[in-house]
């Protein structure tokens, strides 16, 4: 098969030059063979073509599975893939009469396994992993040896009774078989457990075991294979001792190789600043090299690549740009998921091969029984020992899941396929049994583990939004606990961690991390950054929902962005967190996953009310500018991080301003008066309480103004007659010198508009705001309002305007109440953040005065809002 295709490939490669040669030497003897314009060269592309086709089929299958949500919720994907593989294998067999495609050990170990293990290592929750390392190691080493020995010996014992009939195997063959069937398989465990979502401790123990037991499996496999080869009579004590020594060499050697390459990778990634494009490549290539190197030195390759991923992740993630980081994440996930898909499908296909089957009911059944029973016994025994030392006890339920989660998979199959038929005479029996075991564990246990977990009420992992407080307290805990250990004079877990992190900070980071990354790389900062990023993402998502992304993209936004990013506010921005992070990351890369989650949570709140409140409340600053409303009002506030928040605020303001433009225009006559009132009010204000805080807010409100004017007025420029443009430019320029605070600019602007052209203005306003309603003209006003600002605006319109202003705060409250059933935590956070800093509108004497004014001079909510921020 292979030779044929190799020849085909060769021929194909030669075809081109030959064809060219023919062309150049026309006079040559081959005149009968003319140049073919199109030629069919199947053999030329056959191998890669078939591979690509298989990958395509597997991927398509995944799509098909997920079409039916019902099926995937019950049946794990791995099981479906195996079944599909069997079906496909059947088809191929029927067509070809020969099983041409199987999962070969070479392909599996060199191409399919590394991406999965690298993915596991690179995204390993390190803290959890090292926190449970002792437990994991015990299960991985002792557990695997126990399983291998008991399964092999029990099978041999039963064989001696004669139930299985005549086999050509000695005790060593059975032990060899036991050793390869004993190991829990990382691929299968990942595939099944990722869908089950058990709590993280349980997951890390089962998964960590499946990763680390590779060393044991490899050693046991090699030892017994060589024992089988040299024959049972030649096995001496020295050989056994060699086997034990080789275990340590293989496992520690593999780990060291991994750590070495992790160091190398981190170091390289420190200097990739100018080759950002190939940055992700280094991650894959160097980790793959660690795998191959370990394989070359006959050390544990899985351990090598696992530890390479585990050790490098921190430094690499800090060093590479955010885009590269996203690339790495997605490429890794894609490759791992693809490899997993192919593995399971080919496991199914490989099973359809009459040549490998050899049925022995007793042997197969007993193997199934033994591996299950001994797994349970092993887990219970080890947990009993462990629980004496663990602070977080592993309970009976956990033990059940751990025993039940001992899935066997493709590693066992590949190992058994590697056996030499000349030495291991019952290879076919072993292969068939392994296939049955793998199918049984993956399909049957994979199917039932979900209901089992639900039935036992195993603590599930919950995805929580990262909370700043949680992180801060967590950090405080670490320090407290290590201090308590110091004080009470014990060397415990926290002590070691503390020392390690000191060492890491002092030496490793300096060598392995970029200087800028050293600065910004702090978990708490990351969470902070993440939260800010989320707000920013929701800002974009919200803009899109409103259909008015146009104004986000419009020049006015650049303006906004400039305020935030490019023109640093003196002395504050430099030290701000987001500045730090930006410095490192360049353009902020919105992580796709976060984006997705965000979208989802927004979709949850789809109804219009929520929508409205979102608009109203989402874009509130994380930081409050005016310190008097932050707890403990006496603190002078020079909040540095306002970059994101400024933007949010601006958006909100501009949004509400649009609303209120409609209103004022609606009012028509009142506009002039209104302008006067606001102006007067404003000029009165600073005299009242001109302290530090007011200064701050004034300054910021002028910023807001700037952007409002930008966001609303720049767009209408296309529509407005030039006379209307004037006030805008005036305002704009007046805003530029910040001392001059033009609170009234909006009203001024409106006032200077000719009341006769409200239609024009209004339409353009709608355009910027809500594209859908653009065509419906004037009537759409009501619909727009009822859609977007039901509560507030419709009330304002229909109930008359006299005291709507007074009502406003109550309505706000009402809105908040309605919001109570919000599902999105972020929205809740933002919403209450908004209410949290919300000042007291009615207590200000100026406003009281305003309230007593005639109805016609209703102050639009927006300018009210501005007043509020000044208080």
């Amino acid at each position: 098969m292979r030779q044929v295709s190799g020849v085909g490939l060769l021929l194909g490669l030669m075809a081109l030059p030959v064809a060219l040669g023919q062309r150049s030497s026309e006079s040559a003897k081959n005149s009968n063979q003319s140049f073919a314009i199109v030629s069919f060269k199947w053999d030329h592309v056959k191998e890669p073509y078939i591979i690509a086709l298989w990958i395509l089929v597997a991927s398509l299958a995944k799509i098909v599975f997920h079409l039916s949500h019902k099926v995937t919720r019950v049946v794990p994907e791995s099981a479906l893939l195996i079944v599909l593989g069997i079906v496909l294998g059947g088809i191929v067999l029927a067509a070809d009469h020969i099983a041409s495609f199987t999962l070969t050990p070479t392909v599996f170990f060199f191409y399919l396994l590394p991406p999965i293990v690298l993915d596991a290592g690179y995204f390993m929750p390190n803290r959890l992993f090292f926190g449970n390392l002792g437990t994991i190691l015990l299960y991985a080493v002792i557990g695997t040896v126990w399983n291998a020995a008991t399964t092999g010996l029990s099978l041999y014992g039963v064989y001696l009774t004669g139930i299985m009939g005549k086999l050509n195997s000695g005790v060593l063959d059975f032990l060899l078989f036991g050793s390869l069937i004993a190991a829990v398989d990382p691929v299968a465990v990942l595939a099944v457990f990722e869908e089950v979502h058990v709590n993280e401790v349980l997951f890390i123990i089962v998964f960590g075991e499946s990763l680390l037991n590779d060393a044991v499996t490899v050693v046991l496999y090699n030892v017994f294979e060589s024992f089988v080869a040299i024959g049972p009579t030649n096995v001496t004590g020295i050989e056994c001792l060699k086997g034990i020594v080789s275990f340590f060499v293989v496992s520690l050697g593999g780990t060291l190789v991994g750590i070495f390459f992790a160091f190398l990778l981190s170091l390289v990634s420190r200097f990739t600043k100018h080759v950002r494009i190939i940055e992700p490549g280094f991650v894959f290539i160097i980790s793959y090299l660690s795998y191959l190197t370990a394989e070359m030195l006959s050390l544990s390759a899985i351990l090598a690549i696992t530890f390479c991923g585990i050790c490098c992740q921190k430094y690499v993630k800090a060093n590479i740009s955010e885009q590269s980081s996203t690339t790495v994440r997605y490429t890794m996930k894609m490759m791992a998921s693809g490899a997993e898909t192919i593995i399971f499908m080919f496991l199914g296909i490989s099973a359809v091969n009459p040549d490998i089957w050899m049925w022995n009911t007793a042997f197969i059944l007993l193997t199934l029984v033994f591996i299950s029973v001994y797994r349970v016994i092993g887990v219970v025994l080890q947990t009993w020992i462990l629980n004496r030392y663990r602070t977080v006890q592993l309970e009976i339920i956990d033990q059940v899941v751990m025993s039940y989660g001992g899935l066997r998979g493709a590693v066992a199959f590949a190992l058994v396929a590697l056996l030499d038929k000349d030495k291991v005479h019952d290879k076919n029996l072993f292969v068939s049994t392994t296939i049955i075991v793998v199918f049984f564990t993956v399909i049957f246990q994979g199917l039932t583990i979900k209901p089992l977990v639900q039935w036992l009420k195993v603590k599930k992992s919950e995805h929580r939004e990262p909370k700043l407080n949680e992180k801060l307290h967590g950090r405080a805990f670490d320090h407290i606990l290590s201090a308590i250990e110091d004080i009470s004079g014990q060397i415990g877990h926290h002590y070691l961690r503390d020392k390690w992190s000191n060492f890491d900070r002092k030496f490793l980071r300096k060598i392995l991390m970029r200087r800028s990354a050293q600065k910004s790389r702090d978990q708490i900062l990351n969470v902070f950054h993440e939260l800010n990023l989320k707000d920013a993402i929701s800002y974009v998502a919200e803009g899109e929902r409103r259909g008015s992304l146009a104004f986000i993209r419009s020049p006015s936004t650049d303006n906004m962005v400039n305020v935030d990013f490019s023109t640093p506010l003196p002395s504050t921005v430099e030290s701000s967190v987001s500045y730090l992070l930006r410095e490192k990351a360049g353009p902020v890369c919105l992580d796709m996953q976060a984006l997705e989650q965000r979208r989802k949570s927004i979709r949850d709140t789809e109804d219009t009310l929520a929508h409205h409140t979102l608009q109203q409340y989402l874009y509130k600053p994380r930081q409050e500018r005016n310190s008097s409303v932050i707890p403990n009002g006496t603190i002078p506030s020079e909040n540095p991080v306002q970059d994101f928040t400024l933007k949010e605020k601006d958006l909100e303001f501009s949004e509400s301003e649009e609303n209120n433009d409609y209103e004022t225009l609606h009012l028509g006559k009142g506009v002039d008066f209104l302008a006067n009132v606001t102006q007067q009010n404003f000029t009165d204000n600073p005299a009242g309480d001109m302290d530090h805080d007011v200064e701050m807010t004034e300054y910021s409100s002028s910023d807001d103004q700037l952007n409002q004017n930008g966001s609303v007025s720049v767009n209408p420029l296309h529509f407005f007659p030039s006379c209307l443009q004037m006030p805008w430019t005036q305002n704009y320029s007046s805003l530029e010198n910040r001392g001059n605070i033009s609170l009234s600019s909006v009203s001024e602007y409106i006032a200077s508009c000719d009341p006769n052209v409200p239609d024009l203005f209004w339409e353009s306003g709608t355009d910027t705001n809500n594209k859908e309603t653009v065509n419906s003209g004037y009537c759409s006003e009501v619909s727009y309002k009822s859609e977007n600002s039901q509560e507030e605006n419709s009330l304002l319109i229909f109930e008359g305007l006299e005291d709507s202003y007074l009502k406003e705060p109550q309505e706000k409250k009402m809105l908040l109440d309605v919001q109570g059933n919000y599902r999105s935590a972020a929205a809740r956070r933002v919403q209450s953040r908004r209410s949290f800093h919300r000042p007291k509108p009615l207590q200000h004497p100026k406003l009281q005065k305003l309230a007593s004014l005639p109805a016609s001079c209703h102050v639009p909510p927006h300018s009210l809002e501005q007043e509020e921020t000044q208080l």
Binding site: T391, V392, Q393, K467, L468, N469, E470, L472, H473, A476, F477, H479, I480, L481, S482, A483, I484, D486, I487, S488, Q490, H493, H494, D498, N502, R505, K519, S520, D522, I524, L525, F528, L531, T572, S575, S576, V577, L580, R622, Q623, E624, I630, P631, N632, G633, I635, N639, P640, V641, K812, K813, L816, G820, R828, R829, S832, R833, S835, F836, R838
Partner: protein, 214 residues
């Protein structure tokens, strides 16, 4: 084992009160004597002699907590100058791991005690509220281990956390409400769903096996 036999009654009483086993108490007593240089009480200066503490960014707060009367289960408020062994044990007992045989109520009390300790550490002016300023101080100290981080960043993080706390604890606030600080009830609310019991503990050496070697 000698001292355990000589003062069994006192030992048992301590064990009852703090929940430590007598072996653990003995071990801690040795440590206490080491720290106090064979005095009956420990003063703040004694903690300076622990070299490993030096790098702890919130070292001051932790040491402070040892002398906080609220943590020592005393009625009054304020600080003491020196603590005796019993006080030392009391503080240490905040960090005991949970035991298997605890019922719901005990667990709850246990949890609250632990949180109270943490709360007291944050609430440095003893007014029952973690104000923004106090929170900022803590965060600044926490992050002081990173030389590249400036105070401003720490402050803004504290502000962000305070916002978050306010949103979690109060949720919906009236327009004229001002969030003044995290009270203990709020603090409990913030910790809902996070199993602090499994986090805030130190494995005090169980001396059972080692004690026989003496």
């Amino acid at each position: 084992m000698g001292s355990a036999h000589s003062v069994p009654a006192e030992m048992r009483e301590l064990a009852d009160r703090t929940g430590f086993t007598s072996e653990q108490i003995e071990h801690l007593h040795r440590r206490f004597k080491q720290l106090s240089q064979d005095q009956l009480t420990i003063r703040k200066e004694n903690f300076d002699s622990i070299p490993d503490l030096e790098f702890n960014p919130i070292r001051g707060k932790i040491v402070h907590a040892f002398f906080d009367k609220r943590n020592l289960r005393q009625e009054s408020d304020g600080l003491v100058d020196e603590i005796n062994f019993e006080d030392f044990l009391t503080i240490m007992s905040y960090f005991r791991p949970i035991e298997m045989n605890m019922d719901e109520e005990q667990l709850d009390r246990f949890r609250k005690e632990k949180l109270k300790f943490l709360f007291h550490m944050y609430d440095s002016d003893h007014d029952g509220k973690i104000t923004l300023q106090e929170y900022r101080n803590v965060v600044e100290e926490l992050l002081s281990g990173n030389p590249h981080l400036e105070k401003e960043s720490a402050r803004s993080i504290a502000d962000g956390a305070m916002m978050e706390a306010a949103s979690i604890c109060v949720g919906q606030m009236g327009p004229d409400q001002v969030y003044e600080g995290i009270t203990f009830e709020d603090f409990l609310k913030m910790w809902q769903g996070i199993d602090i019991e499994t986090k805030m503990h130190v494995r005090f050496l169980n001396m059972e096996t080692i004690a026989h070697c003496y």
